[in-house]
């Protein structure tokens, strides 16, 4: 089983490299992370934190948008594309299970994302530390940012496989993936915001809203990074919601999302007739 998963993984990794995905993703991460770090350099003095802390805060906001986007872009073609090319039918006549195929692809794509995150945030972090100082706390925050970004990417990779299996065509899967991104990253927050404004500080805002926020992997990612580091919380101005929840909630949500989404993807994949 391990051999087959590794064989699929190695092949997918090679494809990611050939398609310049590894390079593109790493460059996008690095450029955005550097730009945000130095564009956001102004408030350092005002908050009394080092530049790396501010940089991590900006990069957290960046990652909320970029990690799901990159993950979905890598994942939407994974099943629908293979069906369209006719490759999946042939693969499935070999003694490899759908679960093994899925995990093989997942490991390769997650590895690509992890490489891009580490490179991008790492370079920006080092640049920030060199020019504006860093401390133990901000270094830990940077490492946490990288780790949680990989988890967030993992959740959206799996969601991408799910829509890839459901769509029936690569073009349809691309559309569904764009919809997923819009819902999780933009519309979900907007509708919660609307509800808060309507509720005007009532029961919903105090007791329901933080949980709903933690339910969305993108928000759980944000909460985790904010709640864990005071400096980052200050720099993002997002302390309220983070403090309303027990500390384990956001990490639990973000850690549970990738395996749960993978299970959903496996279920959808099982219904694909190549």
């Amino acid at each position: 089983m391990i051999n087959r998963i590794l064989a699929v993984s190695a092949t997918e990794l090679r494809i990611s490299r050939r398609n310049l995905w590894v390079l593109t993703a790493s460059m996008i991460m690095t450029l955005f992370a550097l730009a945000l770090t130095f564009a956001g350099a102004a408030p350092t003095g005002a908050l009394g934190v080092d530049l790396l802390t501010v940089s991590v805060a900006s990069m957290t906001t960046l990652s909320v948008y970029l990690a799901p986007l990159l993950a979905l872009m890598m994942a939407f073609d994974a099943i629908a594309g293979d069906v369209e090319r006719g490759g999946l039918a042939l693969m499935l006549t070999y003694p490899v299970s759908r679960g093994e195929l899925l995990i093989g692809k997942f490991l390769a794509h997650l590895g690509t994302l992890a490489f891009a995150m580490t490179t991008g945030f790492g370079i920006a972090g080092i640049a920030a530390a060199l020019s504006g100082g860093a401390g133990i706390e901000s270094i830990v925050a940077l490492i946490r940012l990288i780790g949680t970004s990989v988890l967030l990417g993992g959740a959206f990779l799996a969601l991408g496989y799910m829509v890839s299996a459901l769509a029936g065509s690569a073009a349809g899967a691309a559309g569904l993936a764009a919809g997923l991104w819009l819902i999780f990253v933009v519309l979900y927050d907007l509708s919660l915001l609307g509800a808060i404004v309507y509720d005007d500080g009532g029961f919903f805002t105090r007791s329901v809203f933080p949980w709903l926020l933690a339910l969305n992997p993108a928000d759980a990612f944000r909460l985790w990074n904010v709640a864990a580091a005071e400096g980052v919380a200050l720099a993002t101005g997002m302390t309220g919601a983070a403090n309303a929840l027990p500390a384990w909630v956001a990490p639990a949500s973000l850690i549970l999302w990738p395996p749960l989404a993978l299970a959903l993807a496996r279920g959808a994949f099982g219904r694909v007739e190549p």
Partner: protein, 300 residues
């Protein structure tokens, strides 16, 4: 039905929505046997193969592959498949793609070198498949069929789109596999493509198996007419036409169409004409005629 068959299909039915794509198909293939599966586009050839591979499930009926349920891990180990339109990942090269299949099949990866050579791809193997011609991709598909000596090989229209030399190579690989005991089911939409290289011919017509026999038996059963063309000596064509009937062609020839049973009788009467006939040409029904007879183009 023979007990030692590698592939045993019984009363197999497949419905998609409310259309019957396969209707009560029974078929068996023994080790080393090469069976041609013929039928027009849409007759159900690919569907039958996908059912045997376990890629889709039957509406009713039984399939056994080497005694195993189709699609089970053990059955998948025993079966090889060449899809109708093989498309591999364009970013991989041939060697990488074949190595992946070898690893999935649990074969050592060094076997791929010999296989690539066997299908004539040793030089192209390290170029990306995206740059290859359709014929080269077809060859790579054939190379993966050879992995691990399958007990049953399903080849879906392997000859379509191949040039004559590639086709010749294909047949020699098919023969080699059969000689090693692999049972082969080879689909085609033209009898001429597979006739000489198969032991038995099964014909699907709109999901029904309308024939399953050797070519010789099928020819006899079809009783298709034989064409005789007599070239007259001098200007005797008119007299030949008057005595034997038939149709005048080009002024100097007469064409007769006769039933196989009447063949000897006709020949005797032609011989009796003696010096009137300069030459005689006899054309048995072509493979195309035979295929059309069974596949239903000339039957309502």
């Amino acid at each position: 039905m023979s007990k030692d068959a590698v592939l045993q299909v019984e009363k197999l039915c497949k419905r998609y929505g409310n259309s019957d794509v396969l209707k009560a198909i029974s078929l068996s293939v023994r080790p080393g046997e090469r069976v041609a599966l013929l039928g027009h586009n849409g007759a159900g050839k690919t569907t039958l193969m996908k059912l045997i591979l376990g890629l889709t499930t039957a509406s009713s009926g039984e399939i056994s592959v080497a005694g195993l349920a189709p699609g089970s891990v053990e059955a998948r180990r025993a079966v090889a498949y060449l899809p109708e339109a093989v498309a591999f990942h364009p970013a991989l090269n041939g060697r990488e793609q074949l190595k992946l299949f070898a690893r999935l099949a649990g074969e050592p990866t060094h076997v791929v070198n010999a296989l690539l050579e066997r299908v004539g791809l040793d030089e192209a193997a390290d170029r990306r498949i995206g740059t290859w011609s359709k014929g080269m991709r077809q060859r790579l598909g054939l190379a993966q069929v050879l992995l691990g000596r399958p007990r049953l090989a399903l080849l879906d229209e392997p000859a379509s789109g191949l040039d004559p030399i590639s086709r010749h190579d294909l047949y020699s690989i098919i023969d080699e596999m059969a000689a090693q005991g692999t049972a082969l089911l080879i689909s085609s939409h033209a009898l001429t493509e597979v006739e000489a290289r198969t032991d038995r011919i099964a014909i699907l017509r709109k999901g029904e198996l309308v024939a399953d026999d050797t070519l010789a038996h099928l020819s006899r059963r079809a009783e298709l007419p034989i064409r005789l063309r007599l070239t007259a000596k001098g200007d005797a064509a008119a007299e030949i036409h008057a005595r034997l009937g038939g149709a005048r062609v080009n002024g100097a020839s007469v064409e007769l169409i006769c039933h196989p049973d009447e063949k000897m009788d006709r020949l005797t009467r032609i011989a009796a004409l003696g010096g009137l006939v300069g030459d005689l040409e006899m054309t048995p029904p072509s493979l195309e005629d035979l295929y059309r007879h069974f596949s239903g183009k000339d039957r309502p």
